[in-house]
Symmetry: none
């Protein structure tokens, strides 16, 4: 039995929309909500009335200052976007995402939703292993936050009536925290070597590297092995002089 | 190609909710709305702002004094209810209803939605050939009108071409030759650093590394990027002495 996805609202603006998202979640059995840097702080008095009774979701909502902290213990991160960004990642429907999450078996999954107006930033999308896009009227795409949440929650709930498929014995991907450790170690080695110059290109270069290293879905052991490789390479100076 | 279902709001109360329903419809390509005895008359000034641009749906909305007149030209009427009423009719999901409507071919289909608080009356439900009930959390069923509409519209859209998952422009994996070049370059760097000792473990260690680097299915550009990373790391000796 796979764990239900955690819903992560990144930089949500209005407490009312957080409440509506909680209501949308509980309608379809999702109870774990995380908030990253909610604009108006937390708790937010306008969230409760909008939740229409989904108080348990709000009461248990966890708040994190950064997306990295909110996803540190997550094995499978999905990012919802209206349109495809420059990032090259698999783009799947809410239905396909629900099937994937069901198939993951062990390991926690989370779905990221961006701020009401702006959505997720590219760097936030890059944290994810896949992008969820609701196939929508190309001439009129106007989903609000709670609607995007309810469609994903609804598709998840539909999988719960099905018999869960045979579990895969593959190790789940390393947690986002472990992956970030690998990325940081490589960054620390490359930075003094001038890899990130010219400086104005550095953000794009770092995004490219993160995408490269996120794509494999390496498990914890594989990430540790790669960190060992980097530690060995670090010895080059001493040994080769 | 079957005709899309007409959305019929029976005795809707708030213009705001009529507007939200129109927005929900147009997101998934439904444009025909009918209103039966809207409480506050029609047009309703509060509907427009809530429609967030789905003005065409509101502009074309037809108003009828009775449900009988609103459904007079409809061949297949479906009624949405939260819980099953005393009526004995088939009860199906929004997904099954969308499949049925698609299968109807010629003949118009309509989906009835009741007033915000009270829902459809029993004799209104009785007009329908089947009942649509969204499978919902038995401990927390709190769908508002627009949410019920959007789930039915979404399921319809999934039967249409616009619901086909968006294309992903993922590059094919790099050729084995390119991948081997990356693996050889890393091997050449690690070997003099004693990474492959003890020597009798070297074959296993090399197999582990190859598996790690094969798993990602990196494309050619990504492989070139990683080779650039290794070339940069190779500079450590010169730069850090």
């Amino acid at each position: 039995m796979s764990a239900p996805p955690i819903i992560i609202l990144v930089r949500p603006q209005l407490g009312e929309n957080i409440g509506k998202a909680a209501r949308a979640m509980l309608n379809f059995g999702l109870i774990e909500m995380r908030l990253v840097a909610p604009r108006d702080g937390w708790p937010n008095p306008t969230a409760g009335p909008a939740a229409s009774g989904a108080d348990i979701v709000l009461a248990n909502a966890q708040v994190f200052p950064t997306l990295a902290e909110a996803t540190a213990d997550i094995n499978y991160v999905y990012a919802t976007t209206v349109r495809k960004r420059g990032v090259t990642k698999p783009v799947i429907t809410p239905e396909a995402a629900a099937q994937e999450i069901l198939a993951h078996g062990s390991g926690r999954s989370a779905i990221l939703f961006g701020a009401e107006r702006s959505g997720l930033e590219s760097d936030e999308v890059n944290v994810a292993r896949a992008i969820i896009t609701v196939p929508i009227n190309p001439d009129f795409g106007s989903l609000n936050l709670a609607q995007a949440v309810i469609l994903c929650a609804y598709e998840w709930s539909k999988t719960q009536s099905l018999a869960s498929p045979p579990k895969t014995d593959l190790e789940p991907p390393a947690s986002q925290f472990e992956l970030d450790g690998l990325i940081a170690q490589l960054d620390d080695m490359l930075e003094p070597l001038g890899y990130f110059t010219p400086i104005d290109r550095a953000p794009v270069t770092r995004r490219t590297l993160r995408n490269l290293l996120t794509k494999p879905a390496w498990n914890a052991l594989e990430v540790r092995t790669l960190r060992g490789v980097l530690t060995t390479l670090k010895r080059m100076r001493r040994t080769e002089q």
